[in-house]
């Protein structure tokens, strides 16, 4: 193999490597921020914004739930990794209420799912709601203290 070919091949493999990294980054971004509408006309739900914070002892899930009836709020631990939050809005919102006339649909609930990648003790879940922000706290499982 000539010296020139060797150089080209090094550049090529670097380029391939960078492309792979870029594809991986894009894939991760797509998972973190899925493309698609922030509403579902079939379930009549608007997607709520949410966050998951993992601290050494707790997992804290928050969700922005403005305009909801607190008594309809449901927080469900679907499995070890997934939390489902849904609440009915005080007043239904339609596309026309949001100034959109080229779509039709009406929304009655706010919904979101939080993914947690550590074990949580769902039986000790604590919920609070203030100014439209929901906060759900779970102690983490399998925490060993040194005596």
């Amino acid at each position: 193999m000539s010296e020139k070919q060797k150089k080209l091949s090094t550049f090529d493999s670097m380029e391939e490597y960078l492309e792979e990294i870029e594809a991986l980054a894009n894939e991760l971004m797509a998972k973190a921020f899925p493309q698609g509408p922030s509403w579902n006309t079939e379930t009549c739900c608007l997607n709520a914004l949410s966050n998951v914070f993992i601290t050494p002892r707790e997992v804290i899930v928050t969700a922005d739930l403005p305009n909801v009836e607190l008594e309809t709020l449901k927080v469900e631990v679907l499995n070890e990794n997934q939390i489902d939050i849904i609440a009915k809005m005080k007043k239904k919102v339609s596309f026309s209420d949001l100034g959109i006339c080229h779509r039709s649909g009406e929304f009655s609930s706010l919904h979101c799912q939080g993914r947690v990648h550590v074990g949580i003790d769902s039986k000790k879940m604590k919920i609070s709601y203030k100014e439209g922000i929901l906060e759900v706290r779970f102690p983490r499982k399998n925490i060993h203290e040194i005596e």
Binding site: M29, F33, S38, L46, N47, A48, L49, N51, T62, D64, P66, N67, V93, L98, K130, E131, G132, I133, E135
Partner: protein, 247 residues
Amino acid sequence: MSESIKIIEKKTVPSEATMIIGLPDVGLVGLIATSYIISELNLEEIAYMESDLLPPVVVLHNGLPHAPLRIYGNQNLIAVISELAVPAPAIYKIMREIVNWGKEKKVKNIVSMGGIPLENRQTINEPEVFGAASNQELLDMLKKSGLKTMNEGYIVGAQALSMRYSVSKNVSAIAILAQSFYNYPDPQAAAIALKELSKISDIKIDVTKLLERGEEIRLKARDIMKRTQQEMNRMQKSQEYDLPLYV
């Protein structure tokens, strides 16, 4: 690829005006506050930004197309907003162009509105507002007006660049930053930032309607907040939580 960027003027642009910048950022504080100023003072669209650095998007309002990054104004006020999350790689050129254009229009000062992310925002009833200024004289003016100033810390993004480029162009610049949610739209923080703005300027705005419409704004702003969060992550906005080291 061509990376042209220019501000197209549609109407006469005032000189010696105050220029308010409210681009999408933490809690959308600046965008909500500046949009509210535009609607309350009935400002007219006087210019818009045309650039290959922005996504190929037009925003339709009342059936007519508008550029996402627009400039509104009256005789003594200029307000810059973007209805699109500004792509992180484009923020330098966009802010440089806005500041250069402001300098060309002889703006009196540039006021950048925004949020300071607060981890426990939901536990705070009344967020605090902090100011930063491009020179000592302005900083003293902020303090005299009763505004708390941010003495140490990082500012990241549009406000940071507005400050940096203003200093290099010798344009007076102020940042008004309200404690807010990081990635939830925060109309209450925007209202409080506007109250503080009235202390240091002639812009007196009644924020009652903004507070009344808070829940509606939070619902409508979910999409732009989500896209803004992606760009904030790209520009390492979380660095605003960091403690600076200057021994």
